[in-house]
């Protein structure tokens, strides 16, 4: 049954214009990340390891992601859930044997897959554009892939949070407002010590996943807290299941 329900969610996405929102998310991150190309001297140092071109790109991307993702994930969740509020979809689904919590889980599987694809696409596109402008310095695959994996986890947890918020509170201003405030928290967390950033899940975890930072002498590698991000993913998953089970027991 879940297969048909997921297929149904994909069908809803066609009319909800999810593709333009996802394209905006990818294009926003790629545009802000590739702004590094316009900084003086960048294109001259694409073959020079001391110019740290990949580090600059990764650093730009780790600022672009928390700038755009919280709002666009809130928009995605809101779009996917608002139709159920507007057209009494919760009640319709329940009478078809799909309680509200189950619908939320199905929405998470379907739209979550799109979020994962978009996150992988933005990381891949930044790498591709870096290669296209001629960066010949050794590619830091470990750090790049580690960051991408961490961002996938944080994005999914944030998306799950917004899905629950949008499902629980009919006024979509609340979900979007939380998304905008999340951008402030995510960016402020980048300047916080690790222990403090951990206190602001899930937005603070964008900062914990950062693999590089700009210092006076150039870009320096950081030790991203991948384990903390993993713990966030597990805790987020458990909480999402528990809360959606609660939704199942309530009347639509």
């Amino acid at each position: 049954m879940i297969g048909r329900a997921v297929a149904n969610e994909f069908a809803k996405m066609r009319r909800l214009r999810v593709v333009p929102v996802v394209v905006a998310m990818v294009a926003g991150v790629v545009a802000l990340s590739c702004f590094a190309f316009t900084t003086p001297g960048f294109l001259d140092s694409v073959g020079d390891p001391s110019g740290q071109p990949w580090q600059w790109l990764l650093g730009s991307m780790s600022l672009a992601v928390p700038l755009t993702s919280p709002i666009l994930l809130a928009v995605l969740a809101s779009r996917q859930v608002d139709i159920e509020h507007q057209a009494n979809g919760w009640l319709f689904s329940q009478t078809s044997g799909l309680p509200p919590g189950y619908v939320c889980r199905v929405k998470f599987v379907a739209t979550g897959a799109v979020v994962v694809a978009a996150t992988l696409a933005q990381s891949g596109l930044v790498f591709a554009l870096g290669t296209l402008v001629g960066i010949t310095v050794a590619f830091p695959a470990g750090q790049w892939l580690g960051y991408t994996a961490s961002i996938v986890v944080v994005n999914l947890v944030l998306f799950a949070l917004h899905l629950l918020l949008s499902a629980r509170i009919g006024n979509q201003l609340v979900g979007l407002g939380v998304g905008v405030l999340g951008v402030f928290v995510a960016l402020t967390s980048t300047g916080m010590p690790t222990w403090l950033a951990r206190c602001f899940p899930p937005w603070g975890y964008y900062a914990l996943a950062m693999p590089v930072d700009a210092r006076e002498g150039g870009m320096v590698w950081l030790a991203p807290a991948h384990l903390s991000v993993l713990a966030l993913g597990v805790a987020g998953g458990v909480l999402f299941m528990l809360i959606t089970r609660l939704f199942d027991r309530q009347e639509a």
Partner: protein
């Protein structure tokens, strides 16, 4: 005037106050928190505090806040049979559109007031800065409110056309990113004819960031004000013309 009063009545039970109060306060709190957490000092007093609060706020959150308010203002028209009631109105389309933009202008002014009060309170209580916020920043605040008008008019038009609450906000984010790219690449002329770029430019007045010279000049202020008023007039006229051609659902 009746249209404007009606729009305010519709807002009475909405959550618009949350955007008006929380968004600028969040900008002030994060600007101050960044300074405290990094252990940094406000080297140039009020100027540094203003810069830390308003630059990022003007690049993304302000446009998105205005977009959310525009969605909120039009939300009521898309509910139940309200759209058909709107189509059977006695006032002209222009009056309806101006009423919506007027409400958004007042809300934008309220947001800017909260921001300025927040900066003054944080400057005095947290950083013990001498005196008060310098006068040019009050002028800049008025210019920022005026620069909000084209964004408000454009977002109002988008929210009129889109029934979804969130979709126009996504457009605003994309527009804000476009505005940031224009300002970062120093294409000032292009930036001031794009509503989102103009808003970003207005918030940078006197800061010395991106395309700004660092001082509030008459020329820069006049350019932003003229562009803001012209863009608003064009977008309001366009939105009214579109509304004229819309029909019942």
């Amino acid at each position: 005037m009746g249209s404007v009063r009606a729009e305010f009545l519709k807002l009475k039970r909405s959550l618009s106050w949350a955007v008006v109060v929380l968004l600028p306060l969040m900008a002030v709190i994060t600007g101050a928190a960044n300074t405290v957490v990094s252990g940094g000092r406000l080297e140039d007093g009020w100027h540094t505090l203003w810069l830390r609060v308003v630059i990022f706020y003007g690049l993304f959150p302000l446009a998105i806040g205005v977009a959310a308010l525009a969605s909120l203002v039009w939300r009521v028209e898309h509910h139940g049979g309200n759209w058909n009631a709107l189509m059977g109105r006695h006032v002209s389309s222009l009056h309806v559109v101006i009423g919506k933009v007027a409400v958004l202008a007042v809300l934008a002014a309220a947001m800017q007031t909260v921001l300025v009060v927040g900066v003054v309170v944080v400057g005095k209580l947290v950083f013990a800065l001498p005196g008060v916020l310098p006068a040019p920043y009050f002028l800049v605040s008025v210019v920022i409110v005026l620069a909000c008008l084209p964004v408000a008019a454009l977002q109002s038009g988008l929210s009129m056309l889109m029934r979804s609450f969130a979709a126009p906000v996504a457009v605003a984010l994309l527009g804000a990113i476009g505005g940031v790219v224009l300002l970062m690449t120093r294409l000032e002329v292009l930036a001031v004819v794009v509503p989102y770029g103009l808003l970003g430019r207005a918030t940078q007045l006197g800061t010395g960031m991106f395309v700004d010279s660092g001082t509030v000049t008459t020329g820069a202020v006049a350019a932003v004000v003229v562009a803001a008023l012209s863009l608003t007039a064009v977008v309001v006229a366009g939105t009214a013309a579109i509304l004229d051609r819309l029909d019942i659902r």
